[in-house]
C-alpha cells in the first residue's frame, strides 16, 4: 500500500519536473525542475530495489552534472527565452511526434502477448553494491576499463575546447 502511494507520488513528481523543464522560460528554473526529476527517478530506482543506481543517480546526475549545468548557466548570464504562443511548423511537428510516440508506446504495451508473463521478478539480486562490483570486475571488465578511457578523453577534450586560445607561441 505505502509502496503504491510512493510510486505514484514520485512518478507524478518526475513528470512534473520534466514539464517544468520543457515549459520554463528561465534556464535556472528549468535546471531546478530537472533536479526534482532526477531525485524522483532515484526514488523510482529505489522502489525497483536498485539501490546502487539510485545513489549513483543522486551523486552523478543531481549532484555533479546539474551543478555543472547551473554553473555554466550562471556563468553565461542568459536572458529569459521569450516563449511566444504562436504555433509555428516546428512546434506542430514536435507536438505530433511526441503524441505519436506516446500512442506508439501505448499500442506496444497493449499488444504484449501475455501480460502475466511480464511481471517483476520476485527478488532483485543485482541491485546491491557487492553484486554490481562483482559483475563489473568479472563479466564487464573490458567495458569498465574502456569507460575510463572515454572519461579521460572527455576531460582532455573539454579542456582543449573551452580554454582561451592564444595563438602567439
Amino acid at each position: 500500500m505505502i509502496s503504491t502511494i510512493l510510486f505514484w507520488l514520485f512518478s507524478i513528481l518526475a513528470i512534473a519536473g520534466a514539464i517544468g523543464l520543457v515549459f520554463n522560460r528561465n534556464p535556472v528554473y528549468a535546471a531546478l525542475s530537472l533536479i526534482i526529476n532526477f531525485f524522483s527517478i532515484a526514488a523510482l530506482y529505489l522502489s525497483l530495489q536498485a539501490e546502487f543506481l539510485a545513489v549513483i543517480q543522486i551523486m552523478v546526475y543531481a549532484g555533479a552534472i546539474m551543478v555543472l549545468f547551473l554553473f555554466v548557466i550562471m556563468l553565461l548570464n542568459l536572458k529569459n527565452e521569450e516563449m511566444e504562443l504562436r504555433f509555428d511548423a516546428r512546434r506542430g511537428v514536435a507536438l505530433i511526434l511526441g503524441v505519436a510516440f506516446i500512442a506508439e508506446m501505448a499500442v506496444v504495451f497493449r499488444t504484449f502477448a501475455n501480460p502475466e508473463q511480464y511481471r517483476l521478478a520476485p527478488d532483485f539480486t543485482y541491485g546491491k553494491v557487492e553484486a554490481i562490483g562483482r559483475a563489473l570486475m568479472t563479466e564487464y571488465l573490458f567495458p569498465f576499463e574502456m569507460i575510463s578511457v572515454v572519461l579521460i578523453a572527455a576531460l582532455v577534450g573539454a579542456i582543449m575546447v573551452a580554454r582561451k586560445h592564444t595563438y602567439h607561441s
Binding site: 503504491t4 520543457v22 530506482y45 543506481l53 553565461l76 527565452e81 511526434l97 567495458p143 572515454v150 582561451k164
Partner: protein
C-alpha cells in the same frame, strides 16, 4: 484499488512520458543549454526502462548498461557544455536558431 499497484507497465509508461517530454523539449526550445538538459532527461527516461527490464528478468545486464550510460552522459555533458562556452565566447549567444554558420 488493484489497478493502482505499480506494475511493469507503470514504470514503462512513466519512462515513455518522460522520453516524449524530453523530445518535445529538444524540438521546441532554442536555448542550447536547455536542449542539453532535455537530452539528459531522455537519457534518464531510457535508464528508467532499462532498470525496469533488469529488475523484471533479475539480470545484471540492464543495470550495467545504465551504469555505462551514466558515465557517457557525464562525459557528454562536460564536452557539450565546453562547446557551448566556446560558442558563447565567440558569438555572445547560445540561441540555436542563430547558430547557422554551417547551414548551406
Amino acid at each position: 484499488m488493484d489497478f493502482l499497484t505499480p506494475h511493469i507497465y507503470s514504470y514503462l509508461a512513466v519512462s515513455a512520458v518522460l522520453f516524449a517530454l524530453g523530445a518535445i523539449g529538444v524540438m521546441t526550445r532554442r536555448n542550447a543549454i536547455v536542449v542539453f538538459m532535455c537530452i539528459e532527461l531522455m537519457l534518464n527516461a531510457v535508464n528508467l526502462s532499462l532498470v525496469t527490464f533488469s529488475r523484471m528478468h533479475n539480470d545484471p545486464a540492464g543495470s550495467m548498461l545504465v551504469f555505462f550510460v551514466m558515465c557517457v552522459a557525464a562525459a557528454e555533458a562536460v564536452v557539450g557544455l565546453s562547446i557551448v562556452l566556446a560558442i558563447f565566447r565567440n558569438k555572445l549567444d547560445v540561441d540555436i536558431n542563430h547558430l547557422n554558420i554551417f547551414k548551406w
